[in-house]
Symmetry: C2
Subunit: 294 residues, 2 copies
Amino acid sequence: MKNSKFRKSCLELGLLLAMSVFMTGCVVTVDGKSAYIAPAPDTAEVSNGASADTDREVINQVSLLQGLTFGDYSGSVPVSRLRELGDTGIGTFDALNGELIMLDGTVYRAAYDGSVEEVADEETIPFSNVTFFDADEEFSLSGIDNVNTLKSELDAKVDELGDNRFYMIKATGSFTNMQVRSELPQTEPYKPLAEVLETDQTFFDYENIKGTVVGLYCPAYMNDLNAVGWHFHFVSDDRLYGGHVLDLGAEELDISIDRTDGFAMVLPDNDMFNNFDLTIDQSEDIKKVETGED
Amino acid sequence: MKNSKFRKSCLELGLLLAMSVFMTGCVVTVDGKSAYIAPAPDTAEVSNGASADTDREVINQVSLLQGLTFGDYSGSVPVSRLRELGDTGIGTFDALNGELIMLDGTVYRAAYDGSVEEVADEETIPFSNVTFFDADEEFSLSGIDNVNTLKSELDAKVDELGDNRFYMIKATGSFTNMQVRSELPQTEPYKPLAEVLETDQTFFDYENIKGTVVGLYCPAYMNDLNAVGWHFHFVSDDRLYGGHVLDLGAEELDISIDRTDGFAMVLPDNDMFNNFDLTIDQSEDIKKVETGED
């Protein structure tokens, strides 16, 4: 309920802002506390730091989503290292400072104010999933009226390719609507993620915006290590807008899918992670975190 | 119940065999169907195939224990590859042909008849966990009256070092008693593991036997990917006897423990694995498989 009210006030302020800020083909709604649009970098680097013998068929995971859910927002892996582990993926930053999207080897932050920026190699990551993207199949989807339609279509493809594996997808095109969220950076002592999202979540609605959704599929047996099923982040073609996808629509999307049979995880070396009781079922909190719903 | 009866008949036959076969300091009980003792190799190779930049702080897992539980005994990774992923570990072989123990880079099979042999690089592995063993701590334990005492002592150490990480241990010394099991190799179509163990499990009891237990600890969040807690395999110093540990006792053991913060998994590329419904809770079957109890 808190989320809905907060979102409504964001939407109202956003309409005012939309009249004063230059927007290319989209309506943006931003958090009232610090409303500005950061400039995007002129060029996006597409190189990555991988050595020649890197295993490209591995989903590399930093920590557990369940660690993040408990409130472990302390970055453990620098962006420079993440770029050695993949060129495509999703995650977040130290102190929960925005939503991470990695595309073509560049790491972007979709910040609490809706802006997107390229992230320096020195920043650290508390949770992320990345891989080197090699499309195993490419196809189009049409008539995507909401995010659940997209998930259903992709689930059908996963059924065909094997439910018990990992998949990264890229969905590129013009989105008729795109609803994303980010969140305010946190200060210690950290609150659990579900609590943070009740007060510090920010929402952004776009229309007719071109860009790419990066999506990760985790099989059912990952229930205690990540979110099972699909998890989507978005960044616009102009690298100005992005975030964790809550809903979307598109008349037609180009999909590329990377089937991945390897999974690797590196655990953070901090006392907070050591002392979590990860036997506690956090599935309700994870659901809330994923969907933005209570 | 079947297990108990079968075991009793094995014990009786074993006593007869014990009188006719040369034993160095131990009593062996073997399955009546094919009772012989295979010679052990004269020398054990201690080299491994790791390249200089292999990450030694990773537990490498082939497939899921849950895949094995469903009956996926098809080997997917050759022994040669396993030796590139670690020098110490546990697992099984294609067609469930015995219990795997890897020690100092050599892969041994503890077969259905209680014999131990070194395994050729070409054989394949359907499930295993290996790592390059670097002792982080070394200590002694005394008064180990059964396997649960050993688990409790090791759990105390894990509590100290962090419950949410992975550990490999080596426990070396003279065991006052050692009860292990192996199983008959299977033919397709494969039955689920719990069914196989009801009819095709073989038990062996040793007394005053010198050797090493290799043990893996998986944290609680691995419940859908492996067995949570400790899993032990044994091989004797003379490389003549071994298997999956059901019980043991020792007056004093030298323990070395390798804390490991990385986990990596490679999934098998076969239709059987693709089609499992891994959302089904197999914890009861896993418990049965681990303890040999109904």
